[in-house]
């Protein structure tokens, strides 16, 4: 029976999703600053919506809009600078803190994720960092739920295969 005010919904959405959204946007833009811009833009757009009505599907909405904002950023970079492509590729290399922990399993796993095709990489992030359901991922990426299932399965298959190649032992947690 308790209803949150739109301001509360916005604040709490920022609390919860700030980090996963930035991480997700950075996956697309390749750099932290544009990722931050994209997330700020996302919330500004949110604040112009009927937040209460949006709430039941807020999470999918946030990731969809954030993706659009990040893509806009990327388009601008590609359009306005000659070496926008390089900027883009930077994100596919392990980030500095990833190489620092490359010795660890987590670091290797991260690198494997970074080598996945773009959509699968996004899905892995949405699932394991942001905790979206198939339905929400489908809404955010504008693809069908069954397509989400197939893509994510393919991603996990690839990861398992690579993992097995690097570790002859079965996967351990």
């Amino acid at each position: 029976m308790k209803r949150m005010t739109p301001e509360q919904i916005i604040t709490e959405a920022l609390d919860r999703y700030e980090r996963p959204l930035i991480s997700y946007a950075r996956e697309i833009t390749g750099d932290l600053e544009s990722a931050r811009d994209a997330v700020q833009e996302t919330f500004l757009r949110l604040s112009r919506q009927d937040v209460a009505a949006l709430e039941p599907r807020l999470r999918a909405w946030l990731f969809l809009v954030c993706r659009n904002c990040a893509l806009d950023h990327r388009r601008k970079v590609v359009r306005f600078t000659d070496d926008g492509i390089d900027d883009r590729q930077a994100s596919e290399d392990p980030s500095p803190d990833a190489s620092a922990m490359a010795a660890e399993e987590g670091g290797r796993l991260r690198q494997m994720v970074a080598r996945l095709p773009e959509q699968q990489r996004e899905l892995v992030k949405l699932k394991f960092e942001a905790g979206l359901s198939y339905k929400e991922m489908g809404d955010a990426l504008k693809i069908s739920v069954s397509h989400v299932g197939v893509e994510l399965h393919t991603a996990l298959q690839t990861l398992r295969r690579e993992w097995r190649r690097e570790n002859p032992e079965p996967v351990t947690p």
Partner: protein, 711 residues
């Protein structure tokens, strides 16, 4: 093996039928089992990857939240302007006639999402109209599209606008006859109108939002397509703004549901400790006040609680008074409270794998287990990729077994709550203790993914279980992920409470010191209605409880759900009052009503010295009909603040702190030091040192130099 079901199953995404089928296949195939095993392990490892840490800069964040609040306020202002008379809105519609020709060109540049229009419309930031469409649910959006076709056919044949937002603009054109849907839609479209030209007009008060006239086919479907946002225009709005002063003459009744949540205080504490200014929306003053326990006396007689009223002058606004309503639930000694049948439902998904989550949860629950008696039983169920019972109902005499099971919990996998919650309820029901406490305690970091089950189904389940006598409490853990609206909703529906545990001390407070209050409900659906005597009180303002305001009619409606009171729990509410004869600042300039007879007070004592009468309605924890309690507050004069009780002064300091922190216009002119001084002088015995901690919080707010300090 290329079977996507493996991954779907591991992530808890199969429907129950598909799952059964898969499990049959699974039993028959070693390969499949091996694949699944590997997939589960991989999912676990992925869930264990360090969570991203990059955030916005503190300044960016503060600035962003402020801008968001401004935008929302602007939207509200626009929505107010919208309540125009029908002729005016039709006039507005006429003005809009030209717009569809203009808009599509703007839209053609923005990427379209055929199945998720609200969001992609939002991508077109320039168009104010996007706000209209985004308010509409996905289902409705489809309808909108269909109706848009209709509209296009009749109104704008020249250029078929592909985007549904044009609908909002076109709509008023189609509807000339049926008044209600037309006006309702016009409300929305004149949001656009508001930004184009300025209307001045009557403030016709929402007669439109009530009646639903069904007209011609197209207007009918149009009306439905905007329906989901209707309640946004009504209920949600009432809840937003801080309560303002209301004149006792026109509004003698103030009605609200009690609030036993305290999460806002611990949340804000986290902000301040991190050196950040908490956003105003996170500050719920009533939860601040109720974070602290007050020494109200035990109830005398058979009633479940005592009502303690006190009044003094306001410490932050001279000439005004402060009224406290303090309620104390009866303490239940363990011998009287009947056996407890507790089922912990613990989220062990990967995200719980953080020192401030699962380990803190284990530690907090251990404290609770220590205090159980031999009659009580505890069971533990977990949920993640799969769910299961870790500990069957075990008596409190076997504490070491319970604690061993708690200690064995480890996190991994993704979250899938719906199966777990069914299992937990089932366990609680099988072990049901008549005359005792039967409760499921959900412990999670907020990622309560209801998976394939939709949310309404889940709330229905919880309401059903509530009727069968099993209640639900929710404990939130961890930072950055807290206070999911779902969790709060679940606790509300389950007659439970929602607490946020961020430190071992907080775990102790909620689960050990206040275990009775957290777990043992002694009265439910507790509502308060205060009737002010206009002969003594010119105006009043309820501090906080903005989300808990009820209509005055709801007070006597036993079907209206409201808050619960636990054993030994105290609930406190403060009113600011302006004594009769003083001007009411900021009172909306409404002309005096002509036909209103002054001061008809209920019991025919208009001249009585009563400031007000507090009426309480509550139901016994297992009852369905409510009882009424009435307590008048009589006071010849309003005594000075300094002579008020310790509890009163402390509660006032907490309220002043909340108001100042959220930069309320009613915060008065107290400095942080003033507030600290009041609090320091009212610490009392302070078991648990929560009040002393409050002093340090004021210190932190002060050192942040919030803008309020400059005023």
């Amino acid at each position: 093996m290329n079977d996507p079901r493996i991954t779907s199953y591991a992530l808890g995404e199969l429907t129950s039928r598909a799952r059964e089928e898969f499990e049959r296949d699974l039993a028959a195939s070693d390969d499949l089992q091996h694949e699944l095993h590997e997939t589960l392990n991989l999912a676990k490892s992925l869930g264990h990857l360090p969570m991203p840490t990059d955030q916005l800069e503190t300044e960016q964040r503060t600035h962003l939240l402020r801008q968001c609040a401004d935008n929302q306020a602007a939207t509200r202002r626009r929505n107010k302007v919208v309540r125009l008379w029908l002729p005016l809105s039709l006039a507005a519609a006429a003005c809009l006639l030209l717009l569809p020709m203009v808009l599509p060109t703007q839209n053609s540049t923005s990427p379209e999402a055929p199945d998720f229009e609200g969001a992609s419309a939002a991508a077109d930031e320039k168009s104010d109209a996007s706000a209209l469409v985004a308010a509409v649910g996905q289902e409705a959006a489809k309808e909108t599209r269909a109706s848009a076709g209709l509209v296009v056919a009749t109104a704008a044949p020249a250029e078929a606008p592909p985007v549904s937002e044009t609908l909002a603009l076109n709509a008023p054109l189609v509807v000339s006859a049926p008044a209600a849907p037309a006006l309702r839609r016009a409300e929305r479209s004149s949001e656009v109108a508001g930004s184009i030209s300025t209307f001045t007009g009557g403030w016709g008060k929402g007669s439109a939002s009530g009646g639903v006239a069904r007209g011609r086919m197209e207007s009918d479907s149009l009306a439905r397509s905007v329906a989901p946002s209707d309640d946004f225009n009504t209920e949600a709005y009432n809840a937003i703004r801080e309560n303002t002063f209301l004149a006792a003459q026109e509004n003698p009744l103030s009605t609200f549901s009690i609030d036993v949540d305290t999460a806002s205080y611990s949340n804000v504490r986290r902000f301040l400790r991190d050196g950040q200014m908490p956003p105003a929306g996170a500050i719920r003053t009533e939860e601040f006040i109720n974070y602290f326990t007050y020494n109200y006396p035990q109830p005398v007689g058979a009633g479940p609680f005592s009502v303690n009223l006190e009044v003094s002058q306001s410490p932050w606004a001279s000439g005004r008074g402060l009224v406290r309503i303090g309620i104390k639930g009866r303490d239940l000694p363990p011998t009287e409270r009947g056996p407890a049948n507790l089922v912990f439902l613990v989220d062990v998904s990967g995200s719980m794998n953080s020192p401030d989550k699962l380990p803190l949860l284990q530690r907090s629950l251990r404290g609770l287990v220590e205090n159980l008696s031999a009659e009580d039983t505890v069971a533990i169920a977990v949920y993640a990729g799969s769910s299961g019972l870790v500990l069957p109902p075990t008596p409190g005499s076997k504490k070491s077994e319970i604690i061993a099971a708690l200690d064995n919990l480890s996190a991994g996998g993704s979250t899938h709550g719906s199966e777990g919650i069914k299992l937990a309820y089932e366990t609680a029901r099988q072990n049901f203790r008549r005359g005792g406490l039967n409760r499921v305690i959900l412990c999670t970091d907020g990622d309560f993914n209801v998976g394939v089950t939709d949310q309404s189904e889940l709330t229905k389940l919880i309401e059903r279980e509530r009727a069968s006598g099993v209640f639900l409490s929710v404990l939130g853990f961890g930072t950055g992920n807290l206070k999911d609206a779902t969790m709060e909703l679940l606790a509300d529906k389950g007659n439970g409470n929602y607490a946020y545990i961020d430190t071992p001390a907080e775990g102790r407070k909620v689960l050990v010191e206040q275990m009775g209050a957290t777990l043992f409900t002694i009265a439910k659906d507790v509502k308060i209605q205060v009737e002010f005597n206009p002969a003594r009180v010119a105006a009043y303002r309820l501090i906080g409880y903005e989300n808990r305001i009820l209509a005055k009619e709801d007070f006597n409606d036993d079907k209206k759900d409201a808050g619960e009171i636990g054993a030994g729990h105290t609930v406190t509410a403060l009113y600011e009052i302006i004594p009769a004869g003083q001007p009411v600042p900021g009172a909306p300039s409404v002309d005096a009503l002509k036909y209103q007879t002054p001061a008809p007070v209920t019991d025919g004592r208009p001249g009585s010295g009563d400031l007000l009468t507090v009426k309480l309605r509550y139901k016994a924890s297992d009852g369905d009909t409510s009882k009424l309690l009435e307590v008048p507050l009589a006071a010849e004069n309003i005594p000075p603040f300094a002579s008020a009780s310790e509890d009163f002064r402390f509660a006032a300091a907490v309220a002043a702190f909340g108001l100042k922190l959220r930069q309320s216009p009613e915060a008065g002119n107290l400095s942080w030091d003033d507030i600290q001084k009041i609090a320091r002088g009212a610490l009392g015995a302070d078991p648990g040192s929560h009040r002393a901690e409050f002093l340090t919080l004021i210190e932190q707010a002060k050192s942040l130099g919030l803008p309020a300090e400059d005023q």
